[in-house]
Symmetry: C2
Subunit: 315 residues, 2 copies
């Protein structure tokens, strides 16, 4: 049997009230009793039952994280960083990866509510927006509009689109393909595309939009393109492999940009130019925004846009 408050009290030879006072640090207490209690706690290896505590309406110190998956290294690193930063603030994380399945995501949202999380950070990309209206816990969204009262923290994708385009133009490519995801109409991906469009417009250039969902990479590439703006790093590297098999060398015979900028990909594929979304800063802002939401639930908190930067392979 796990030790309970009562057991600690009995071992220390004092009342449960006093033990509770020691644990929660209130009221007036003598040094001696405090020490006795701590000794008893150690001896019994006592852990206050977090469930019982949370039932008093105390914060559960749980934050729910909803992300489509952990396989995308960018999400994995973001989640990892969020988890790390939250832990130092005394929060535990429940990670829900919805696997891009709205039903699962709905279940998870219910679960998070049922488990009384103190807040939710959602990086989901596929939930019906209405679901989020009913949620009472404070929410912050990563990179996507969910509802009017839910603040968004995102990387500056308009700037990202511009930087990627600028890179291609500077390397004087002739024919540009841009991978676009038409489904993501509510997400800032549109901004990215707008950044591309505007930059190209300023330089009187055109491009071919290729819909991610209706195009077979292996058949369109290399094709006529010597410039490609991919929608993420993994996709970018798939395309690189296709060019490679055709005997074409990245950064020489053709130019291509990724998007996301995970540390992992930079380590494994340092030759890939890409737009870097700053993971540490995004995490900090997401958490800071969530914390103010938790402290003052009625206030409206402004959305935050974090600048990105472009990684150019050295040499």
């Amino acid at each position: 049997m796990v030790a309970k408050l009562k057991d600690v009290a009995e071992l220390a030879g004092i009342s449960v009230t006093t033990v509770s006072r020691v644990i929660n640090n209130y009221g007036s207490l003598s040094e001696k009793t405090i020490k006795k209690v701590h000794a008893a706690m150690r001896e019994l290896n006592y852990q206050p039952n977090a469930l019982a505590r949370a039932m008093q309406g105390k914060p559960s110190k749980f934050i729910g994280l909803i992300f489509p998956n952990l396989i995308n290294p960018f999400f994995a690193e973001l989640v990892n960083e969020l988890e790390r930063q939250l832990f130092t603030k005394g929060y535990k994380t429940i990670i829900a990866s919805s696997a891009e399945n709205p039903e699962i995501e709905h279940d998870y949202l219910s679960m998070l509510m049922a488990n009384q999380v103190d807040g939710i950070i959602s990086g989901s990309h596929n939930l019906d927006i209405k679901e989020y209206h009913q949620v009472t816990a404070p929410i912050v969204s990563f990179d996507r509009y969910l509802a009017d009262n839910i603040p968004i923290v995102s990387a500056d994708s308009y700037q990202g689109g511009q930087l990627a385009t600028q890179y291609l133009i500077e390397h004087q490519v002739r024919r540009i393909a841009v991978m676009v995801d038409e489904d993501q109409s509510v997400s800032p991906t549109v901004n990215r595309l707008q950044g591309v469009v505007d930059y190209l417009g300023q330089h009187h250039r055109s491009f071919d939009p290729l819909d991610v969902h209706h195009v077979d990479l292996a058949t369109v590439f290399p094709g006529i393109y010597d410039g490609v703006i991919a929608s993420n790093d993994v996709q970018a590297l798939r395309i690189v492999n296709i060019y490679h098999r055709a005997g074409l060398r990245l950064n020489q015979d053709y130019f291509l940009t990724g998007y996301n900028g995970s540390t992992l990909i930079r380590q494994t594929n340092p030759e890939l130019p890409t737009v870097i979304q700053p993971i540490a800063e995004l995490s900090t802002k997401l958490i800071a925004t969530l914390m103010t939401r938790i402290k003052r639930p009625q206030d409206t908190v402004p959305s935050v846009v974090v600048p990105v930067h472009f990684y150019t392979p050295q040499n």
Copy 2:
């Protein structure tokens, strides 16, 4: 205020007992009451408080996952798969990434206990073994010895070492470097090394062991080596980049093997030969082992070793 059981009962005009019966589906109930209750639940957007339920001694339906990090794509994919499979079994996951920090790991272990998880899957690589003796919840370990009564599920690293070596020998390399991690003396990594040693011995070949922690990759490679056994895929690709800068081509001028075999790396770097630890199967075994531990906590459950296979780049 969030809806409670009582609110549902009042709205439906019946007692809490009956509502509870409907929710937990026992006792005899009329169709009419059931419908009334469901209607009331929907209207109030009611979610049973999982914390309160868990307090009755009922299973919390939480499984704790302890892994060093989520950045390693192999861990990320394993966790992702575990999370997915557990969810279909009605379990939620609390992910604790210890960041290779024993203190954090200790805190997390306490936290998991305090939150009454029904079981723990630990892929940790750095905790003092004694900590795990005090844990009362059922535990299964991934790929590492923790304590006598804790079953281990692992990939066959001896076989992995052999397969990697076989690949190099078949490609007639002359001088072989093997990356070793001396710290991991308790882990099956030793088995992997043994597999390498045995295979080479049978072919009357020798190798140079290079300690991961005391060697600067950029200075020893390419050096004299045309064959390298790396200890994981990310490290392997770092080495590939070093050879690349020296103008040497993988699978032609030199041969190298990775270890882990995440789907991600195979997608982004399909040219990397590597030992594949089957993630889906490992997950299944881990969960199955944990479930029998949960059902019959007093039984000793045997450890499981899952075969690996070798991925050779096509072309």
